[in-house]
Symmetry: C2
Subunit: 199 residues, 2 copies
């Protein structure tokens, strides 16, 4: 069966997003700093890793907050944060309470809106991914749900050397899974640790 993976940038104090997240600011105050490592544009370890993130992925799952457009019924003019050619280039399943027709974007990205829960989304993503990975794209609360359900096989953490002091923590309400670090790569901008999840 497909492996289910997750890439997530966190601060040294464990936050996946800063405080005061809102519909227009899903990363919260300072949260953009968690992603500096991926955006320097300089060749090197970080750029390589940023490039690999979507390689091998056959389908993505994300939460409504990550997709954006508020948390009520859909304003159909909202088509995500990423413009007409989003960087996923694969089917993306968006967890939401509110039904909406699929959105076909350029470059192979289709957003499908799933209203019947995380298991249904995973089932649909597995079917769409073929023999490739299913990636839980975020945000933190979506990752937490899959981690708590025992559905994650691997998590690739990118630890940025910053403190946010407040915000949305990654490792809360996830039960007691066991982790094994299987790959560590580092740069001045982040420490990248790939964990296998054992239970």
């Amino acid at each position: 069966m497909n492996s289910v993976t997750c890439n997530l940038s966190i601060s040294l104090d464990g936050f996946a997003a800063g405080p005061n997240q809102g519909p227009d600011d899903p990363l919260g105050v300072g949260g953009m700093r968690l992603h500096d490592w991926a955006q320097s544009g300089e060749p090197g370890v970080d750029a390589e890793i940023a490039k690999q993130i979507t390689e091998g992925v056959g389908a993505h799952i994300m939460g409504r907050k990550m997709f954006g457009g508020g948390d009520g019924p859909w304003d159909e003019s909202w088509r995500g944060w990423w413009g007409e050619d989003p960087p996923y280039h694969a089917p993306v399943f968006v967890l939401t309470q509110h039904p909406r027709e699929p959105l076909e974007m350029q470059g192979g990205t289709t957003f499908t809106f799933v209203t019947d829960g995380i298991e249904s989304a995973l089932e649909q993503a597995r079917a769409a991914a073929g023999d490739r990975e299913v990636a839980i794209a975020g945000g933190a609360s979506t990752v937490q749900q899959y981690l708590a359900a025992g559905a994650l096989d691997e998590i690739y953490l990118h630890i940025a050397p910053v403190l946010l002091g407040d915000g949305e923590r990654l490792f809360e309400n996830v039960g007691a899974p066991a982790f094994e670090p299987i790959e560590v790569v580092s740069s001045p901008a982040a420490t990248h640790i790939r964990y296998r999840i054992l239970s």
Copy 2:
């Protein structure tokens, strides 16, 4: 001037000790698991790092909780957790509200009890350390105080691949120092990241 360093084991969810710490259990529930990497006894990366921790250190500073013996006036029969030949082999300055005569142990460890605050302890430790490092031994709240005071030059984090879920967090109430990862070494038991503290 001596550099001021710190070695600390933390969980993947950021705890330096588990919940329900008490006078007889300074590590809290599950907290011992944070130190498994140092205690396997197997040769390898972890054993090397565990051995290096006290090398180069001319004096240590620790909080009262780490030294033990409750939090009231001293019961003089309490001589620390480590037996008659503690692993420090150097002067150790213990932060406390309660005066006590210095305790000379075997193997070069002397515990000196400091009642006039963290700056005084650092000054005394610097004088005792000569040109060697001063190490902040812990626990988390002592490290936090020195970090908040801008007195730490380096922190060597040992990230154990476990979740504690609750307990004493390392990075709280420390202001907004900037970190730069300068060395990363990993094993299945822990990821060891040495950070230089820039501000």
